[in-house]
Each structure stands twice: as structure tokens, then as C-alpha cells.
């Protein structure tokens, strides 16, 4: 067995080389599946199934609400920490006195609402869980008028189907989280079922204090049955629309344009 050893060694090397090649081949074959457009269409069909199912079992169900004792001691600031855009910075310097929420699109009564006007509407305060797509969870208290109230006041035209939220920040496109620098501002959208849900509010306060810049001052969306990326911060305007085609790449949101589900109920 003198030559056996070297034989075995070289055989083992051959095996491991073969293993690496086969492993590498398997990896790239698998990654090919991940990038395949035709397969992607089938895979994406699960999103519609999930949405239909979740609407069937709880179209009007309320998200669980918590107590002050459950608040996260340190609610994580995620996404944009502070919009760098000059327009936003100007408004921030003025304490958002010049900020107006533009409500337009397919409405009979377009509006421009200042913060005091939003605060004069009936308010809803809710302590809810914030479920990040990455897997972490935080609990916070939010206060603001229901979105449905504002939409009713604006009067929806018959062909209205979605509400698009235009935000102040150009997310900046962190390379690790979705690639290239963003060319458009952050945006999000809801259909009318979630827009008129009683817990869907435009929050100006968090944990009893005005929203901090990190958490979306002066106004952010809370849509409590969907993931964190739907909770648009720095909301500047609402467009009521029939189709999402005119915004970004047409998928209904900043992260949706980067492959994430538009229906973020799971």
C-alpha cells in the first residue's frame, strides 16, 4: 500500500475538486432559478394567493393592540434616518409650519392640509407592533387622523382604486439593501380596503410626542396589517389613482420596485 497513500490523496483531491465544481455548478444552477423571469412569474403568483386568502379570513380584522407597558424601550429607526433633500431640510428648519399634505388625484375636492388642521380632526391613538421585513419587531404608540376620514372629505371619484403616498426622501439606495442609488423619491401605495381600514392612520405623534425626524416627521403612514416598508415616512402628498403605472417602475412602492411584495401582509 505504498502507492496507495498518494493515490488516495490525489483521488481525494480529485473528489474535492469535483465536489467544488459540482457544488459551484449546483449553486449557479440554483441562482439561475432565482433570476429566471418565467419562473419568477409563477413564484410571484403566491403573493396574490396570500392576499386573497388573508382578505378572505379577515378583511376587516383589527391588528392586535398593546399597552404602554409593552412599548419598545428603543424603537429602531430604519430606512432613511434624515432626508437630505433641500426642500425637506427647509421645512424642518421652519418646524414644518410650511409643510402641507397635498391630497389630489381622483378626488372631487383636492386639499392642502397643514399639521394643525390634521390635528383638529378626530384622532386615533393605537399601540401596535411594527413588523420589519427583516424579522425584527418593535412596539410603538401612534396618534393621528384616520386616512379614511381624509379620503371621505376629499371625495373619491368612481374609478379610484389606490392611494399613493409621495414621500420627501430619496432613500439613497443603500447598496446592501437593494442596489443602485435611487433615482426616485420613496413612495408607497395601498388599495382602498387597507386605506379605509380603521387602524390606517396618518400619524403625527409617536409615544405621545411629535414624530422625530428619524421616525418620519412631520407625518407618516401606519397601516398595521402590513410590514414596516409600507409605513411610509415623510409623507408629502396622497394621490388617489386608478393604476400604479405612473409611479417609479410601476410596482407600487420603492421596495416593490426592488422585488418586494406589494401586498406585505406576510
Amino acid at each position: 500500500m505504498m502507492t496507495g497513500l498518494s493515490n488516495r490523496l490525489s483521488r481525494r483531491r480529485l473528489f474535492s475538486l469535483g465536489g467544488i465544481a459540482a457544488g459551484g455548478g449546483l449553486l449557479s444552477a440554483c441562482d439561475g432559478l432565482a433570476r429566471s423571469d418565467s419562473l419568477g412569474g409563477i413564484i410571484k403568483s403566491a403573493e396574490a394567493a396570500t392576499m386573497r386568502w388573508q382578505r378572505a379570513i379577515g378583511r376587516d380584522a383589527l391588528a392586535p393592540e398593546y399597552t404602554l407597558a409593552d412599548l419598545s424601550p428603543d424603537f429602531k429607526v430604519n430606512g432613511t434616518h434624515e432626508p437630505v433633500e433641500a426642500e425637506y431640510q427647509g421645512m424642518k428648519r421652519g418646524g414644518f409650519a410650511d409643510w402641507r399634505l397635498e391630497v389630489g388625484g381622483l378626488v372631487t375636492n383636492p386639499m392642502r392640509l397643514a399639521l394643525p388642521q390634521l390635528k383638529a380632526l378626530p384622532q386615533r391613538t393605537q399601540i401596535t407592533k411594527h413588523d420589519c421585513v427583516e424579522g425584527w419587531t418593535a412596539i410603538g404608540q401612534w396618534t393621528g387622523p384616520q386616512l379614511g376620514l381624509i379620503l371621505k372629505a376629499a371625495g373619491l371619484k368612481p374609478n379610484a382604486r389606490y392611494v399613493v403616498f409621495r414621500c420627501a426622501d430619496n432613500y439613497g439606495g443603500e447598496a446592501s439593501k437593494g442596489g443602485a442609488q435611487s433615482t426616485s423619491l420613496y413612495y408607497e401605495s395601498l388599495d382602498l380596503i387597507d386605506a379605509f381600514h380603521p387602524q390606517t392612520i396618518l400619524a403625527h405623534s409617536m409615544n405621545g410626542a411629535p414624530l422625530s425626524v428619524g421616525h418620519g416627521a412631520p407625518l407618516r403612514l401606519r397601516v398595521e396589517r402590513q410590514l414596516g416598508y409600507k409605513q411610509a415616512k415623510y409623507v408629502m402628498g396622497l394621490d388617489v389613482v386608478e393604476s400604479l403605472a405612473g409611479y417609479g417602475q410601476g410596482n407600487g412602492g420603492y421596495w416593490e420596485d426592488r422585488g418586494y411584495e406589494w401586498y406585505a401582509g406576510i
Partner: protein, 291 residues
């Protein structure tokens, strides 16, 4: 296609003369089809699950859980610098284990260091891609659930579950279980008539996966969904919170992974060709007791 004869039990016809190996109809068509569909779904679910975990490689216990909540974090997979050298580690409670090369810090396909919880060879896609991993994960979650319901429905109605999978009262005696463990340790697999039925450890493993782990992984998965939390808050009540559900989802997935390793090992040891053929064509070769 599932006729009465399509079951795992001995056919009514008397077996051919002993001492001759013969083919025995072991697995019903529906069991075979759902088994392979399930295997495909589980492989994608595990590998996309690891990719999803990589987006936030910490687990928490309690009402909330995020980076700042150190008191609630019971598991963490990451990398740190120790004396100028990068190290991968897994921390569970107060115990930290160095796992450089596999967990926390591994080698990227291009040969460079990869500071990531699970290595690229264990995840789908092999690179960080939460959006794609989630899309595949939820697609195969639907496959797992619908396929599992078909299997369970069939197994209940046909009697497969009661007859072939649930241990009979006598089988659960410590003596019988000990006997089975010894036989496994000696790598003695049943022959003849004995080989036609699952033995007790096999029943416990299959039953545990079908009736405990897969339902648990599905319920804890739903427990992480905000829309499901609204529609079915009882799931959240059962597990206590979303971070708890996520922790238990990870534990259940690990136990399923452990089952798969043992399952594949047993298939290989028991005679992979005969075993795998039985799960493809349904036919299983029975060797007589005395060769």
C-alpha cells in the same frame, strides 16, 4: 388512482414461496407524489429560510425584539474582531461558540471572506437577496400546506395514518423502543414480513414530523404575518408574541433539518436503491428472513 390495493399492507394473495425475494407494493401513489412534492418544497423552504434569517441573524423572546433589545436576544450569529482576526460565532444565551468557516464568517464563492450568518452554499439564492428568498419561501409555503392537506386527507380517509404511522399501544413499551434502538445501533434492518411495516422509531420520527413539526413550522410562520395576526390573533396568543413565533419557527426548521439528515442516513443504510425505488414506483423488494 388510490385503490384499496394501493396501500402499504400485505396484498391478500399469499406471498411467493419463501427464500425467494419478491416485490411488495409498499407506497400508495398519493403518498409517493406528495412525498416528493414535500421534499422539494422543504428543500426550498429551508434554503430560502436561511437566506431570510441572514437579513437579521438574531432571535428574541418577548413582546418585541430588535437590535437594541439585548435583554431579549437569546441567539445571535455574527462575526467579530478578536485581536485583529475576524471570527464567526454563534451565541446562545451566555454561551459563545466560534464557528469561523461555516456560521457568521465563511468563504464567498469568489474565495473572499463572507461575513454572513449562513454560508452561501446553504442559502437560496446563494447571495443576499431577501426579496427573492421571501417570494420563493411563500410560494413553497403554499405548496407545503396544500400538499400536506392532500396527504393528511388521504391518510386519514384511507387509514394509512392509523394503520401504518401511529404506533400501536404495545409498540410504545420501553422494552420495544429499547429493542428497536439496539437494532438500529447494530444496523440490523428488518427482513421478511417484518420489513413490510414501519418499526416504532420510524413511526415516531414520521409521526413527529407530520403531526408536530410541520404543523408547528406552519403555525409559527403564520404567527409572524401581520395580516394573519389580525385575522387569527389566537396564533399569537398561543406563542405569546411575534418574536417568540420567529424563534420557534427557527427551532422547528432546525428539527426538520435534523430529521432530514437522519432520514437520508437511514435510507442509505437500509439500501438506498430498494428504498428510493419504493418511494418512486411503490415496489419494495422483500428479502426472506433466512437468506
Amino acid at each position: 388512482m388510490a385503490t384499496a390495493a394501493d396501500t402499504i399492507e400485505a396484498p391478500p394473495a399469499p406471498p411467493p414461496p419463501a427464500a425467494q425475494p419478491y416485490l411488495f407494493h409498499r407506497h400508495a401513489l398519493l403518498v409517493r407524489v406528495t412525498h416528493w412534492t414535500n421534499a422539494l418544497a422543504i428543500f426550498f423552504l429551508l434554503m430560502t429560510g436561511l437566506n431570510i434569517f441572514n437579513a437579521h441573524p438574531s432571535l428574541y423572546w418577548g413582546p418585541y425584539g430588535a437590535s437594541a433589545d439585548a435583554a431579549h436576544r437569546w441567539l445571535e450569529i455574527g462575526s467579530k474582531n478578536v485581536g485583529g482576526e475576524a471570527r464567526g460565532f454563534v451565541r446562545v444565551g451566555d454561551v459563545t461558540v466560534t464557528t469561523t468557516g461555516v456560521l457568521g464568517l465563511s468563504t464567498a464563492p469568489n474565495g473572499g471572506p463572507n461575513p454572513i450568518a449562513y454560508p452561501s452554499w446553504a442559502t437560496f439564492p446563494s447571495y443576499r437577496d431577501l426579496a427573492t428568498a421571501r417570494n420563493f419561501h411563500f410560494f413553497f409555503a403554499w405548496v407545503l400546506i396544500l400538499n400536506g392537506l392532500a396527504y393528511l386527507g388521504y391518510s386519514l380517509v384511507s387509514g394509512h395514518l392509523r394503520r401504518d404511522l401511529l404506533p400501536k399501544p404495545g409498540e410504545l413499551s420501553p422494552a420495544n423502543i429499547a429493542h428497536d434502538i439496539v437494532k438500529h445501533a447494530k444496523l440490523q434492518f428488518p427482513k421478511g414480513e417484518e420489513a413490510k411495516r414501519y418499526h416504532v422509531l420510524q413511526k415516531l420520527a414520521y409521526g413527529g414530523v407530520i403531526l408536530v413539526l410541520i404543523p408547528l413550522v406552519i403555525l409559527t410562520g403564520l404567527g409572524m404575518s401581520p395580516a394573519n395576526n389580525a385575522a387569527w390573533p389566537w396564533i399569537l396568543d398561543v406563542f405569546g408574541s411575534r418574536p417568540n413565533a420567529r424563534s420557534l419557527h427557527w427551532v422547528a426548521a432546525n428539527l426538520i433539518g435534523l430529521f432530514i439528515i437522519v432520514h437520508l442516513l437511514m435510507v442509505v443504510l437500509a439500501g438506498p436503491i430498494n428504498e428510493i425505488r419504493s418511494m418512486i414506483t411503490g415496489k419494495f423488494r422483500i428479502d426472506p428472513e433466512k437468506a
